[in-house]
Structure formats: C-alpha cells, structure tokens
C-alpha cells in the first residue's frame, strides 16, 4: 500500500528547469500557507524567472536579470507578529532581495584586486601594437604562468581561446579587467539564534585548495545532504553509491544503488521521529532510506530533476518533484504512513553491509580494563567470595522455605478452595485482645458450607475464649466476621523481658497465634494464618503478678548476692 497521496497538477503550462538550490518553501504572505518559490532557469528564448506556486497553481511570475543559482526565503527578525519574509536570489556575484516579489535590496559581493602581473599583461594586450601572433604568444604564456585560480574570469576565457579567436577578441575588447568578482557557489541562511555548526563540508572539488577537505570520493558527487540530527553527510556518487560520512569525514557506510542516482533530498518526518533520505534513480524510482534500510519506493514514471520535501500550503509533509520534462509533481505523505522496519517489510539489502564496518563494537573503556586487571590478579579470592555469597544465598533460601513450612502459612486457599480468603485483625492493648477473623468467599458462583475455625495456641501463653467456631454457609461474594477474645496469660513468675517487648518490638515465638480454617471431611486444613499478637502494654499487666515478679527478682538478686 502506498504511503503517498498524489496531487493532480495541471501539466500544460508548467515547464520548469531548475537546480536543487533554486527551490524554496516560504510562507510568503505570513498566513501559514507555504508557497513554493522556484528560480526557473528558463528555456530557449524565455529568460530566467522567479515563479511562485500556491499548491499546484502558479500565482506569480517575475523576470530575473540573470541565471539564479540559489533561492532562499528568510525573515528579518524573529519578533512577533512576524514580518513578511524576504526572498533572496543569488546570481553569479550578487544577491537580490525581494520583498512582496519586488526588488528591495541588491548586494554585490566585494571584489578583490587583480594580480599586478596580470594588470601589466592586460595593459600590453590592449595596446594595438602587440596584436600579432608572436607577441600574443609570449603574453599569453606570461598569463599562463600566473596560477589559474588567481586569474580573472576574463583572463581565463582568453586562455581558452585559439590564437585567432584571441586576436579577434582583443580587437573588440573595450574594458580592461581590473577587478575580480567573487563567485557565489551556494547560498543558505544562518539563523541568528541557532547555534552555528561547523558546516565545513568543503568537498567542492578534489583539487580545490580552499576550505577543509572533509573526505574524498572515488567518483563524481551528484548531491550532498547534511543530516541535521547527527551532522552526518549523505552523498550520492556517480558510481551508483549512497554513502554516509560522519561529521569528521569518516566513511560510516556505503551501499550500492540499483541504478544511477540523479537527485537526493532529506525527508524529515518529525511525528515518526525519522529522517529519511530520498534518492531518485534514473529509472524513475525514488527510494526512501532510513539509514541503510530501504523503507519505501515511489515510482514517478519520469526522470527526476529536482526533489524537495517540506511544508506546502497547509500540508506539512509534501514531496515536491520537478521532473526532467519540466513537470511538477506533488506527493503528500499520508497521515497514517509508517516507516518502521516492520511496516516496510524490507530487510537490509545484501550489499548493505558489503565490506564496511559490520559491527559497532565500543572501545574498551578504562573501567573495563581496570576490572579485567583486577580479575586476573585476584582470581582465586574472587572465586571464593563468589562461592561464599552463593552458599549464603542458598542458606537463606532454605531457611525461608523451612520457616514457611513450619508456619504452614497460606492465607489464600488453593485448589477447589481457592476462592476463600482469611484475614485477621487484632485490636486492644492487652492482656485481653479482640481478634476479628474475616472469611471472604471471592467466588461468584459457589457457596461454601461446613467450615470451621480452629485456634491453635500454646495454652501457657494465650487463652482463647472460644477456640472452635463453626462457620455458617458462606454465600458467593459473602464475607463473615468472627470476633474472638484472646487473653495473654502470665504465669506467676513473670519474665522481666515482657516489660521491654514494646521497646524491643519482639514478642518472639511466644506471641504467635495460629488460625486454621478446616472443612468437614478433610484431614488437612484449608487455610492457615499466623497472627503475630502485639505485646501487652506493660501498664496493663496484672499488678499482683508484677509485684510477685518484682519480689522474685529481688529474691533472685539477693540469692545471687548471697551466693557470691
């Protein structure tokens, strides 16, 4: 299923010949309706024009004075409400700014002075007495001795001519080159607020001495795009490859395309969090890659000349394609489009991993190295420590299991009785406590009959008012409460530790009361719960026994003294 919606564009009068840099998407009227601004190079006798499209409809046509090399839309300031954006059109050595499609500002690049030798040569060249083949030969030789890149375009042109043409050229010449104009190669905008990144993708030409050469490619480069997310550089080359370089110029991966690539653009889809690379091939296909993986293929039936992706009109995701025949194609990304690997159903192509770094193994960190050294030096002790810890863990597990077995604690029934729940609440300060047992039947269909509660306590410690309670029928979803009195029993010889139980918080084995839920005809209890009784408040202890204990204590003490 396609992910793109085709917009019907009237093909009759749209005839565009342009460069990738001559397409701009600008909110021209500040109405959040983005227009497509195209610097058209013109065809035949028709001169270059600046064309503005609203959707697929051309709404304006401005004649340009020269061939446009780049078109950029920008706004002067970021203040709100926004001012009307300007359009800058770059020509060979000047930039024209348009506001409301009217020329508003012209800027000529500063020119540099010519080489002194070149000026001398030109003085002689313009002198008619030198206009013969021999003297011309020596003069052009001296011109050729000057480095080619320092020469003015006029000198460069002259050197390219045959001697006869040179003579004819010099006969007709009127003005002498005195200045060298800088040539614009590309144009882009720098936002004032943005952090300026080093966009030194200076792969202008292999023998270009200026700029930092980031990387060299084996073949001619067809298009370059910089991915803003990680500053990697995508390059398509004439040897049918799509390559990705890091911002430091290191080749990260490279994949072979099925056919010759002709155009490339980035397709950032923000709501999906991906930036795809659209590569148009000479076969009329446009492939979309997410990294190395191909996610989608569009067949456009025509040779693509220029592609651009961005907001047009009010639609955010529009792929604009200008074909070799001058047609304009608009493709809108569907809202429901998904470019995940699963949705695309495309595996990595077999050549994708060809020869390049197949594994991304992180560098050995200092931490890792230190750890490995430690392991080598103290291998025995590390092993022993590990075994020791392992045994401790096993012991802990065994202890816990034993404890669970001893208490045989299960407050939630299993098997056919799994719908029963038993909970207990203890209230009171002591020595008489009120223990409320709550039996709940969570089943939605079944009632339970023939249940009974049995208290299992040590009679030395606790006295239960009714240790055996018969439970009546428990309806589905029903809940029954059984309050019972449990009294803590103190023998005549009260242990002084009892007084400190609230402080130490330890009642020990003594304070455990086991509650069993039994059913008629069953030999094992259905449920068992252990209730940890709170310690009796020392103020509530029976006074006489306290005194007895105190007396005993003093007696013991005296005995002890007498013994020594």
């Amino acid at each position: 299923m396609t992910r793109w919606l085709d917009v019907e564009v009237g093909t009759d009068d749209i005839d565009l010949i342009t460069l990738p840099s001559n397409l701009a998407l600008v909110d021209l009227q500040n109405d959040n309706e983005f227009k497509l601004v195209v610097g058209d190079l013109g065809r035949g006798e028709e001169g270059p024009k600046l064309k503005v499209f609203k959707g697929a409809m051309q709404i304006s046509d401005t004649i340009l004075p020269d061939l446009p090399l780049g078109v950029v839309g920008f706004s002067i300031n970021e203040s709100m409400p926004r001012s009307v954006p300007l359009i800058a059109v770059a020509y060979s050595s000047c930039v024209y700014m348009y506001r409301n499609l009217k020329i508003f500002y012209k800027y000529y690049l500063p020119s540099s002075e010519l080489n002194m030798c070149e000026i001398e040569v030109w003085k002689q060249l313009t002198n008619p007495s030198y206009h013969n083949i021999e003297s011309l030969q020596s003069l052009t030789d001296s011109l050729g001795a000057i480095p080619h890149k320092l020469l003015s375009p006029q000198s460069q042109n002259l050197l390219d001519l045959t001697p006869d043409q040179q003579l004819e050229y010099l006969e007709n010449i009127t003005d002498v080159p005195s200045k060298k104009n800088a040539e614009i190669v590309c144009i882009t905008t720098l936002k004032l607020h943005s952090i300026e990144r080093e966009k030194s993708v200076c792969i202008l030409k292999r023998d270009w001495p200026e700029g930092r050469i980031l990387f060299n490619t084996d073949e001619h480069i067809i298009a370059v795009e910089v991915v803003t997310a990680d500053n990697s550089v995508m390059v398509i080359c004439a040897d049918n490859t799509l390559a990705c370089y890091s911002k430091k110029g290191k080749k990260q991966w490279c994949l072979t395309l099925e056919h010759r690539p002709v155009a490339m653009t980035l397709v950032p889809v923000l709501h999906l969090g991906v930036t795809l690379t659209a590569v148009a091939l000479a076969t009329g296909h446009v492939h979309l890659y997410d990294g190395k993986a191909r996610r989608d293929t569009i067949f456009v039936r025509d040779l693509v000349s220029v592609m651009k992706f961005g907001q047009l009109g009010q639609e955010e995701h529009v792929l604009i394609i200008v074909t070799g025949g001058g047609n304009l194609m608009l493709k809108i990304l569907k809202r429901t489009a998904d470019f995940s690997a699963h949705a695309a159903g495309v595996q990595l192509s077999p050549h994708a991993a060809g020869g390049q770094r197949p594994w991304l193994i992180p560098k050995k960190s200092k931490l890792f190295l230190e750890q490995s050294v430690r392991e080598r030096e103290n291998a025995v002790s590390m092993h022993q420590t590990f075994q020791h810890e392992l045994n401790r863990l096993r012991l802990l597990a065994a202890k816990t299991l034993l404890e669970a077995h001893v208490k045989s604690d299960n407050s939630i029934g299993i098997g056919p009785m799994d719908s029963l729940r038993l909970t207990a609440e203890v209230e009171g300060l002591g020595p008489v406590f009120r223990v409320t047992l709550i039996i709940e039947n969570t089943s939605k269909e079944k009632a339970v009959i023939g249940l009974a509660i049995l208290f299992h306590v040590h009679t030395i410690n606790y006295k239960v008012s009714n240790p055996y309670i018969k439970v009546p029928l428990l309806s589905p979803g029903g809940k029954l409460k059984f309050p019972t009195k449990i009294e803590e029993v103190f023998d005549d010889q009260i242990n002084p530790d009892v007084l400190f139980r609230p402080v130490t918080g330890q009642g020990g084995e003594r304070s455990l009361v086991k509650v069993l839920l039994v059913k008629e005809g069953k030999t094992t209890p259905i449920l068992a719960a252990t209730v940890q009784m709170p310690p009796t408040d020392p103020m509530m202890l029976p006074f006489d026994k306290m005194q007895a204990a105190a007396g005993l204590e003093s007696n013991e003490d005296s005995n002890w003294f007498t013994k020594t």
Binding site: L5, D6, V7, E8, G55, A56, M57, H271, L312, G313, Q314, E315, E316, V318, L330, I332, K334, R335, T336
Partner: protein, 191 residues
Amino acid sequence: MGLLDKLSVWLGRGKAEVTVLVLGLDNSGKSTLLNALRAPEQRVAHTTPTVAQQQEHFQSGGVSFSAWDVSGAPRHRALWERHYRRAHAVIFVVDSADHLRLVVAREEMELLLAHPDMFGRRVPLLIFANKSDAAHALAPMQVAAALCLERITDKPWHICASCALSGAGIADGVTWLARQLRDGLVPTQHT
C-alpha cells in the same frame, strides 16, 4: 413546523437529540460553519483553531441536533474515530479552494468510511464544499468527483456549496440532513 414537531414526538424522539459529527481538515471552516448556525446574537466574531472538540446545539426541520465539532489538525484526526459510534450523521467540511489538500480530504473520508464503526451503517453524509466564495474555488460537482463520492454505496450523501462566513448554502444542506434523519429509520441508539 407544528405538524413536524408532533410527528417527531410521535416517533418517540421529540426530546432526544440527534448526534452529528462535524469533520474536516484543519482550516476547512467547521467551527465557522457551526457559528453561522447559531442565533445572530450568540455568534462570535473570530473563530480560533479548535483543539480537541466542542459541542453545539441547533434545530432544523423539527430535528434537534447536537453537533460535535472535532479538531481537524493532523495530530488530532486520529481521535475522530472515538466519536463514530455515537454519530447519527456526519457533516464533512471541505475547503473547496484548497486544491492541494483535496486528496488529503479524500484519504480521510476513505478512512472514515472504512472504519468498522461506520462501515455498513446507514449514516447520512453531508458534504459542504466550503469557501465557495474564494477565488479558484471548485464547483461542488468537481469536489464530489475529487472525493470519489460516487463510490459511496452504503450511505445517503449530499454535497452542497457553502460559505460559512456569510452562511450561504448551509441551511439547504442542514435541511437535507434533517429530512434524511426524519425520513430514515429511527437512529439506532448506541450505548
């Protein structure tokens, strides 16, 4: 109107409101259209882009409508389907001057018609070819062709040109909708 009112009371839904879903892309004029249906003194001068949804009530042809105006922004369109179940009718607003996004409107309408909560239900579908006063606005028949309305077989549909700013054409469409709801089956109540 008296007879119709009696008729609707007799049909058992005199008091009941019919839920109408107002859908369409962002900036197609949904809120402005509903604004035009209000009483003149209740109208607001400027509509702002709707976020989420807002509810409107109006009456026409003896039917009392409760209209849900749902945001048409791309990120909110996924929420449309939450309203499909309770909708008794759908008003789809199209900006007939926005040639570029007619395909987007068609795509959204196809998604709407193919949704399980909508497919096969006899829900009247009223399409407003809005902004008919704008320059380069397409005629309603051209909009209908662009939206491939002739393919809709399971629902009664009607398209009419409208201008939500002046209110022209809206009454015609709503009258058609009211007639459809009145003449058609009693709206199935979805709980």
